[in-house]
């Protein structure tokens, strides 16, 4: 770790202005950023901690929506959306391990947009809206590829609004070492159609599987996606899975998710 200055922001405004002044980076739960710092892969100068901003920590349900503060931990989401949005609660409850879930935050996870992270699948699969200190961004416009989002420098995720589907399920095949998704699929069935979001698989990060959405919107059944195969173009290939294996898993995880929902 390089030496850094540390600012405990008390409000979003304070954090935003601190971030605007020179070399500084927001610190959420630190579950991604701290290991990066320890490996000396980043030298942010100043860390602006969001952990003490109470207005970033909430879970509110109503009007067919769940709205979650950007500083809310995975464990809190798992506990507090269990009734309102069980598919999301289940996803949050299976991120990492208890210490990760009790520190890591939804805002940090979405801002980081790791190509193997869980939350991006829920956000994209639900058609969520990412709220920042300055604007609202539709999930379809938010994720811009591996570790890339449409957030501007110094912009903070203050909340995420999830429309609640009729049914949803997150099916995850864990990478054997990191236990992040090797491939995971979030399927959400809304009155007006089905959304299928895939994480872990693509070099472009989280994405929607249009063919599966179309097939399932027409006929929400395992049979509808039984023969569907995802192409292995641009799939991640590494020690833990070839592109062909990942493409295969997209089909398997999608069918399993649907099987849980019908």
């Amino acid at each position: 770790m390089y030496a850094f200055d540390f600012v405990k922001a008390a409000s979003v405004e304070e954090a935003v202005s601190a971030l605007a002044s020179g070399e500084a980076q927001a610190l959420g739960g630190g579950q991604t950023l701290i290991p990066t710092l320890k490996a000396r892969l980043a030298d942010p100068g100043t860390l602006i901690s969001l952990a003490h901003i109470d207005s970033l920590k909430f879970v509110r349900a109503g009007d067919g929506m769940v709205e979650i503060g950007g500083g809310t931990t995975h464990a809190t989401v798992a506990a507090e959306t269990a009734q309102t949005y069980p598919g999301l609660a289940d996803l949050a409850g299976r991120i990492g391990d208890p210490s990760v879930r009790n520190r890591g935050t939804i805002g940090g996870s979405l801002a980081n947009n790791d190509p193997s992270a869980c939350y991006p699948a829920a956000a994209l699969g639900s058609g969520a809206t990412i709220v920042t200190n300055s604007r609202e961004i539709a999930a379809d416009d938010f994720f811009e590829g591996m570790f890339a989002t449409s957030l501007e420098e110094g912009e903070i995720v203050t909340a995420v609004k999830f429309p609640i589907p009729e049914k949803s399920h997150y099916e995850k095949m864990a990478q054997p070492a990191s236990r992040f998704p090797l491939v995971a699929v979030f399927v959400a069935k809304f009155a007006d159609g089905v959304r299928v979001a895939v994480t872990g698989a693509s070099n472009d990060g989280v994405f929607r599987w249009a063919e599966a959405e179309k097939a399932l919107s027409a006929d929400f059944s395992v049979a509808a996606v039984q023969e569907l195969k995802h192409s292995d173009d641009d799939m991640i290939a590494d020690l833990h899975g070839t592109a062909a294996y990942r493409a295969h898993l997209i089909g398997v995880m999608t069918r399993r998710a649907v099987a849980q929902m019908v």
């Binding site: 054997p176 020690l239 833990h240 070839t242």
Partner: protein, 792 residues
């Protein structure tokens, strides 16, 4: 009846109180006044020529005391290898120099070429980034077979090739083995890889060096399984410090699994630099550093051929193995694929003819050495995999094929064709027990139940033998060991009857402080609490060889028994004087000395006090005091054996393997503490599951370590292992040590991998898959099923 103390009791591990409450004293807890901090600068290239290292800027950085490079070590010895293997032509192995800091070339990712010592760790880290090293990348040799090709890049320019040795065992049998294989009814052949592993003890390595110029004394605190061995190797071969001026302390050590046996450059560095700088020097390995600097384990590529007659009787066995040594020879590396491997190739079976060939190869990778089981897992894996394959090819049930070839219990002692003599064993008994505890009869129903859930269930067995309790010094000396392998104990009875036992064994998780105390308590008939076990400090314990090779209770425990016997003999003399009786009439039981046939008695405590306050004492016959030392050198290895069974479920869509049941029926001879023994088996099996299903150390073709963190190196988690069913009721006591014990530390890691792989292949029986190399990751299992389906 389970006992509640002494030998055979499941006494609670006394050390756990401090470990579980965070009160252990580990090497990183050692902070010496005035200490400075060392940061090693390690190569990020697998192979490179060092053109120049400019340290000017780094040395000028804040807080820096000095930057060391190879030139500071001119005249200092290299890190030695403790075992010399003689090749099949009778020539000694090729042995490269292993400098403390890289000289001329860097030879693996992680090879240290400079060290910054500074006032604080952060200052040292910052300065390390200012070192300007000009290193020209050279082609790396990673694959062992490529490394042996003509014209391959040499890891060591001064050696003739990358071949460390070509070992044949037993060379004289080769012709007969070849002949038998040529003429056999059936030969089963299998090529397999024993995957490279990283031990990953919970505590990374740490070294703290201190030098007292007024006494000219060095102290090294280090995370070691054998402080006396480190003192010997480092003092004699690297730094030239005589033993009486060098103290090595290995306090609480958080797991070793073999990787903390070896003498490492960092230990020598901290000891050396403490004198050079006249400041204590501390180094704490980061986890990332551990991946590229702790000795790795396994990494064998083998071909095994088993010849049988019509009835499946084994006639001959031939193996051909490439064993990766990495870039330098770690302390015991040459012995692992040879004497700890070739001598075990008979397994539990009567195979009259065996020939083992091993080519040890230098590559641009981290040195490879002993890891839990060391050589024996590699032998067992080959053998128990080829036997399963043979059973399939011959249409014989795999359990039945094993039974047909087992050495029967009336055949012990049994001379194998690979130089060792098994003293005792009863393999049919452990196999019977295994089938019972694994409920083989109920398997079909469980398989059907799994099938109903869409899962493929498999049942696999393996039977192992291991040679442990290493070992007779004269024998290992003939085999190339550059050290003896006895063990020592001093039993110091204090004046009021409590006891301090100083042992040369070292406990780093095994629970010696509990189980060793049970033995002495049992012999003396006094409470365990009255006995303390002291280990891990060369200044406090007699010269001993440490803990590895499941040797502590068999060798260290035996030394302690011998010393305690001497105590009892002397105490009886004192007691006979106190009771005015003839020594031959004195009996000793339950902590009381009595005179046979009378009501005269004297208690243990009174005798101890008399020894130290010898007012009424036979000073003309015996010395005061009650302290005895023994050095025990065993007559043979011990031979634990057992049957292991694994049940798996394979997900046919994803290839994921779940280990759903695991049973172990071990014969460890007599058992001192059943709970500790079970814990050792649990840990070993968990590591075996790790090897078989998850763990794999992978280098790319340029010698870059792809699995350099837990993001890519898959360690087993609690939910990856099932509840284990373990049994050690089959006991054929060792015939040549006083406790009749055999050792249990490595068995789990030796016997489990083949059982797991056999189970997976049983689950995949319908696919006709012969073999899948470990780890059986989802991707590999899925790919094997795909290939089988497409007929590839």
């Amino acid at each position: 009846m389970p006992k509640d103390s002494g030998i055979g009791a499941s006494s609670k591990r006394r050390e756990d109180l401090r470990f579980l409450t965070g009160n252990g004293k580990y090497t990183d807890d050692v902070n010496v006044a005035g200490q400075s901090h060392a940061v090693f600068v390690r190569s990020d290239l697998a192979h490179g020529r060092i053109e120049s290292i400019d340290v000017t800027e780094a040395e000028a950085a804040p807080g820096v005391l000095k930057v060391f490079t190879a030139k500071d070590f001119e005249g200092v010895g290299g890190v030695p290898c403790g075992w010399c293997v003689t090749d099949k032509h009778g020539e000694p192995m090729q042995e490269p120099k292993h400098p403390v800091l890289a000289e001329g070339k860097v030879r693996h990712v992680g090879d240290p070429y400079a060290v910054v010592v500074a006032e604080t760790l952060d200052q040292a880290r910052n300065a390390a980034e200012l070192i300007d090293a000009d290193i020209t990348e050279l082609p790396a040799v990673v694959n062992m077979k490529d490394a042996l090709k003509d014209g391959a890049t040499k890891v060591h320019d001064d050696l003739t090739s990358n071949l460390c040795y070509d070992w044949g065992f037993v060379e004289e049998n080769k012709g007969a083995v070849d002949e038998a294989i040529r003429n056999a009814h059936h030969v089963t052949t299998l090529e397999l890889v024993n995957n490279r592993l990283i031990a990953n003890p919970m505590e990374p390595r740490v070294a703290v060096g201190e030098y007292d110029p007024w006494k000219d004394e060095h102290t090294l605190w280090t995370t070691s399984q054998n402080p006396h061995v480190i003192r010997l190797l480092m003092g004699a071969f690297v730094l030239g410090i005589p033993e009486h001026k060098l103290r090595v302390i290995a306090p609480d050590v958080g797991g070793g699994f073999g990787t903390k046996i070896f003498h490492y450059a960092e230990e020598a560095f901290c000891t050396f630099a403490a004198k050079a700088l006249k400041r204590p020097v501390k180094w704490t390995c980061t986890r990332s550093e551990a991946f590229m600097s702790d000795a790795h384990g396994r990494d064998h590529v083998s071909k095994i051929e088993l010849a049988m007659d019509e009835s499946g009787k084994f006639l001959a066995l031939r193996t051909d193995t490439y064993a990766n040594m990495g870039a330098y020879l770690s302390t015991f590396a040459p012995s692992v694929p040879t004497w700890l491997h070739g001598t075990l190739m008979a397994g539990n079976y009567i195979t009259p003819l065996i020939y083992v060939n091993v080519k040890a190869v230098f590559t641009n990778t981290v040195p490879v050495d002993a890891y839990r089981g060391a050589g024996r897992p590699e032998a067992t894996y080959q053998l128990e995999r080829v036997v399963d394959k043979a059973a399939r090819e011959m249409g014989i049930d795999p359990v039945e094929l094993r039974r047909r070839n087992f050495i029967n219990k009336d055949q012990f002692p049994y001379d194998t064709p690979v130089a060792v003599t098994y003293d005792t064993g009863d393999y049919h008994a452990t196999m019977d027990k295994l089938l019972e505890i694994s409920d083989r009869d109920g398997f079909a129903a469980r398989k059907a139940e799994s099938a109903a859930r869409g899962k493929l269930r498999g049942y696999g067995v393996a039977h192992y033998i291991e040679a442990c309790g290493i070992a007779p010094s004269n024998l290992v000396g003939q085999l190339g060991a550059r050290a003896g392998l006895y063990e020592s104990a001093t039993v110091r009875v204090n004046a009021t009857g409590s006891i301090s036992v100083m042992t040369g064994s070292h406990s780093h998780g095994q629970g010696h402080e509990t189980s060793f105390a049970q033995v002495v308590a049992d012999m003396l008939g006094i409470p365990e609490e009255q006995i303390d076990i002291i280990h891990g400090d060369t200044a406090r314990t007699p010269m001993g060889m440490g803990t590895y090779g499941s040797r502590s209770i068999a060798v260290g425990g035996s030394a302690m028994v011998r010393a305690t016997e001497k105590i009892i003999a002397k105490a009886k003399k004192i007691a006979s004087h106190l009771m005015e009786a003839s020594e031959s009439d004195v009996e000793f039981a339950n902590g009381q000395f009595t005179v046979a046939g009378t009501d005269k008695s004297v208690a243990w405590g009174d005798v101890c006090l008399a020894a130290y306050v010898p007012h009424n004492y036979p000073l003309e016959d015996i010395e005061p005091g009650l302290e005895e030392t023994s050095f025990y050198d065993p007559a043979n290895f011990t031979y634990p054996s057992g049957g292991y069974c694994c049940e798996v479920e394979v997900d046919p869509d994803t290839g994921k393997v779940d280990v759903v049941a695991f049973s172990a029926a071990d014969d460890f001879g007599n058992v001192i503490n059943p709970m500790i023994v079970e814990g050792q088996v649990h840990g070993g099996v968990a590591q075996g599951i790790g090897q078989a299903v998850l763990e794999n150390c992978v280098y790319d073709e340029n010698g870059q370590l792809l699995t350099g963190s837990y993001m890519d190196y898959a360690m087993p988690r609690a939910y990856d292992v099932p509840m284990f069913t373990v049994d050690h009721s089959c006991q054929t006591p060792c015939t040549h040590n006083p406790l009749g014990v055999k050792g249990c530390g490595e068995a789990g890691a030796i016997g489990s991998p083949p059982a797991i792989v056999n189970a997976v292949l049983d689950a995949l029986n319908d696919f006709g898959i012969d073999h899948i190399d470990m780890p059986l990751s989802p991707q590999r299992v899925w790919a094997a099923m795909q290939d089988a389906k497409s007929g590839a």
